[in-house]
């Protein structure tokens, strides 16, 4: 389906303003909405058939911002936006908002977060929409018509500024996993002591791993987290990022990194992330080129490269967390058994989730 011209821009402008306002209060959203007289977005001498189509597309666009990977604040904004659009529409009976079964658990979690954080207005509004039966509970978000969309390329990449600084890597391991690792490590140490001659410490012969590896892990991932956040901030403030400068920085940091293990990790990551997959002999002429672009995960790779899906190298930005180091202020921790739960405040984005950089092949 072709897009409604101008709609994406208007929605992103409104959501962007909401993000700038740095709040999740509906009152503020309503102000921004009124300033723009957003309710008139359906105006114009449009006949019923066209209006139905237009409204469906509008709701479909807004709905996308309601789900991950968008940040918490954008998702709340999207909820308000859906509330406004659903009620401002001119169709009779009203066009509904589609929700796919696979997305519902995420929405439930979102609702719970809102409730736990006492964002009553957002919770109330979702409740209102639900009571009004504004949703269609579907199998998939969009209708699937097997139409090979020629506009696939033009599918604008998700607005980078709206996305959470957390990425796949962060989603891999949470506080729980680290805590688990901690426990296992502790028991491992105890076990070694038990079978050793001196019960108070393990035999030298049993020393096979670095004792403080879990702490190192946590530090590395915290650094990664901070680095990402800083990057997000930089990206937001200055869209132009000097690629060469950053590349040099990263290489310098890589060299200066002391920890042996971190180096090893970095080497592994570099190898997996920068190696382009060899295309089969028959497609030699279409070797995959490495793009070290700084843009988001869905780099606009030209699809004319190859019709077969090739494993794409990860964008350079994701390269090993261990490559940051000296410049950032990082709080290194001593061994702790309890790792604090993250607190979602209104200003910050999620900061508690740590992750283990893991070599991961993408299909």
């Amino acid at each position: 389906m072709s897009a409604v011209p101008g709609l994406k821009e208007d929605c992103e402008e409104l959501l962007g303003a909401f993000q700038q306002a740095d709040t999740v209060r509906f009152e503020r959203f309503a102000e921004l909405w009124r300033e723009r007289r957003f309710h008139s977005i359906f105006y114009g001498r449009v006949r019923a058939l066209e209006r139905n189509k237009l409204t469906k597309k509008t709701l479909d666009l807004a709905q996308q911002y309601f789900l991950p990977p968008y940040s918490f604040q954008i998702r709340v904004g999207a909820l308000y936006l859906l509330y406004g659009l659903y009620n401002a529409q001119l169709c009779q009976p009203k066009q509904k908002i589609r929700i796919a079964l696979k997305d519902w658990p995420e929405i439930q979690k979102f609702q719970q977060d809102l409730l736990d954080s006492q964002h009553y207005d957002a919770t109330y509004i979702f409740r209102r929409l639900r009571l009004a039966r504004a949703f269609h509970f579907t199998a998939m978000p969009k209708l699937l018509t097997y139409r090979r969309s020629k506009k696939k390329i033009a599918e604008n990449p998700l607005k980078e500024e709206f996305k959470d600084p957390t990425n796949r890597v962060n989603n891999l391991i949470t506080n729980d996993v680290l805590e688990e690792l901690m426990n296992v490590h502790y028991h491992y140490q105890k076990m070694k002591c038990v079978i050793s001659a001196d019960k108070s410490q393990p035999d030298k012969a049993l020393s096979l791993i670095k004792d403080d590896f879990v702490v190192n892990l946590k530090d590395i991932t915290l650094e990664h987290q901070e680095w990402l956040q800083n990057r997000m901030r930089l990206f937001r403030n200055a869209k132009e990022i000097d690629k060469a400068e950053n590349q040099k920085k990263e290489e310098a940091l890589l060299a200066s990194e002391g920890s042996e293990r971190a180096n090893a990790l970095a080497r592994i990551k570099y190898r997996s992330y920068s190696a382009a997959v060899e295309v089969s002999k028959s497609r030699r002429h279409r070797q995959v080129q490495l793009e070290s672009s700084e843009s988001g995960p869905s780099c606009g790779k030209s699809p004319s490269r190859s019709k077969k899906p090739i494993r794409r190298p990860q964008p350079a930005r994701r390269r090993g967390s261990s490559e940051i180091g000296g410049e950032m202020q990082v709080a290194k921790e001593t061994v702790t058994h309890h790792i604090g739960m993250p607190v979602i405040t209104e200003e910050d984005t999620d900061e508690g989730e740590v992750s283990l950089p893991k070599r991961r092949r993408r299909r």
Binding site: V4, P5, G6, L7, D10, F26, E27, R34, E35, R36, R37, F38, H39, S40, I41, F42, Y43, G44, R45, V46, R47, A48, L49, N52, Y83, G84, N87, A88, L90, P93, K96, R98, A100, L101, K102, W104, Q108, L115, Q118, Y120, D121, Y124, R127, R128, R130, L131, A132, R133, H136, F137, T138, A139, M140, K142, L143, L144, T145, Y146, R148, K152
Partner: protein, 376 residues
């Protein structure tokens, strides 16, 4: 597994296979009575106490919420606004673009109103909206699944190369496959075999639909054959034998009876092309484009399903002589006609080919003709 929600197998194109009924179960397990309700009336606005209880907030907060989050805060406008008029100074890009487009139309188009195709399309899409049956036993149940199917025409015209015409049908999860089969109107069902130049008045005994009753659906490795009548044959047998004769790379196909299955029983992918075959060789591609829970604004009368909501308009072929009526006859090797084949409406056909006593004039072969656009 049964419990997993459907997801893409090929990104943005089609899902992996799942059992239709499982989707219904999946959703019903997660939702409450207000979500599933098909009551016609809107739910009354919640009392502050109810809100306070649900949100765990104070009564005063609930009252405040009601005021602050009222939709009026988004809809307010000082004066009566006409939705047909785009405000002059709008900051919205959407509106500025739309305004320009409308202005361009005003310049170029003399009369700007819905043509009959648009009216038809809109009517088909919305005529059954919200309809409720007179008989309460015909009312669709809460939690019922609604499937949207695109059934493509077998007709292949050059102009349809890139966008094959189709009709869109809504069908309920609890309906039998045979109900869908009976509802599919295809011109090949109406074909009348036989040459009738010598006896044009003889009403043909049977149309193809009555003679050739076999048909099947193919979904995910299973052929659902219509076996309701003794004349029905297993049309899929040829395919199954072909597949089994050598290692063709297909998994074992199965053949079952169409009338034993409802849509909830089926394993299928959304967005993936399947097949409906009848009349031996008339093949229609079928794609399930959507499955969702039934909603109170949908048509809730069981008897109206399968419900046709979209149909491609095909121009009918007109009589060569009068150019007015739809052709009902086609002639070959016609000494009286300027082209071969040549199409005639009933009146012109008789006037040209037969004298006042009904004697055949000239040499020709005549066949009854059913135009694909007959279902317009």
């Amino acid at each position: 597994t049964e419990a997993a929600a459907p997801d893409y197998e090929a990104a943005e194109l089609y899902t992996r296979a799942f059992r239709v009924g499982a989707l219904g179960l999946g959703w019903r397990r997660l939702l409450g009575p207000p979500d599933l309700s098909l009551a016609a009336e809107e739910a009354a606005e919640e009392a502050d106490a109810a809100v306070a209880g649900a949100l765990g907030c104070a009564l005063g907060t609930a009252a405040e919420l009601r005021a602050v989050c009222s939709i009026d805060t988004l809809m307010s406008s000082e004066k009566e606004e006409d939705p047909n008029v785009i405000p002059e100074d709008s900051s919205l890009l959407t509106l500025r673009i739309r305004k320009k487009a409308l202005e361009r139309r005003e310049e170029k188009i003399i009369v700007d109103r819905a043509c009959r195709q648009e009216t038809l399309t809109y009517e088909m899409e919305s005529h059954a909206t919200g309809k409720r049956p007179d008989n309460p036993t015909d009312l669709i149940e809460e939690g019922e699944l609604l499937l949207t199917l695109n059934i493509f025409y077998p007709v292949i015209f050059q102009k349809h190369k890139d966008h094959k015409p189709y009709q869109t049908v809504l069908v309920l999860g609890s309906q039998k496959l045979t109900e869908l089969r009976d509802s599919i109107s295809c011109v090949s069902d109406l074909q009348i075999g036989g040459e009738f130049s010598s006896q044009p008045d003889q009403a043909p005994e049977h149309i193809s639909k009555d003679l050739y009753k076999s048909a099947f659906f193919y979904f995910e490795g299973i052929f659902y054959n219509d076996k309701r009548y003794p004349e029905c044959r297993d049309l899929s047998r040829t395919i199954i034998e072909w597949s089994e004769s050598h290692d063709r790379g297909y998994e074992n196909f199965r053949s079952v009876k169409m009338e034993d299955y409802v849509f909830n029983d089926l394993f299928l992918k959304i967005g993936f092309p399947y097949l409906y075959c009848h009349q031996g060789n008339c093949e229609h591609i079928i794609i399930i484009t959507d499955i969702r829970l039934i909603h109170h604004d949908d048509c809730l009368d069981r008897n109206l399903y399968p419900l046709l909501v979209k149909k491609h308009w095909l121009c009918t072929r007109k009589c060569f002589v009068c150019k007015m009526y739809t052709a009902r006859w086609v002639t070959n090797r016609d000494s009286l006609a300027p082209e071969d084949p040549c199409f005639f409406c009933d009146v012109c056909f008789r006037m040209l080919h037969y004298d006042a006593e009904g004697n055949k004039l000239g040499e020709f072969l005549a066949y009854p003709y059913v135009d694909p656009g007959i279902f317009n």
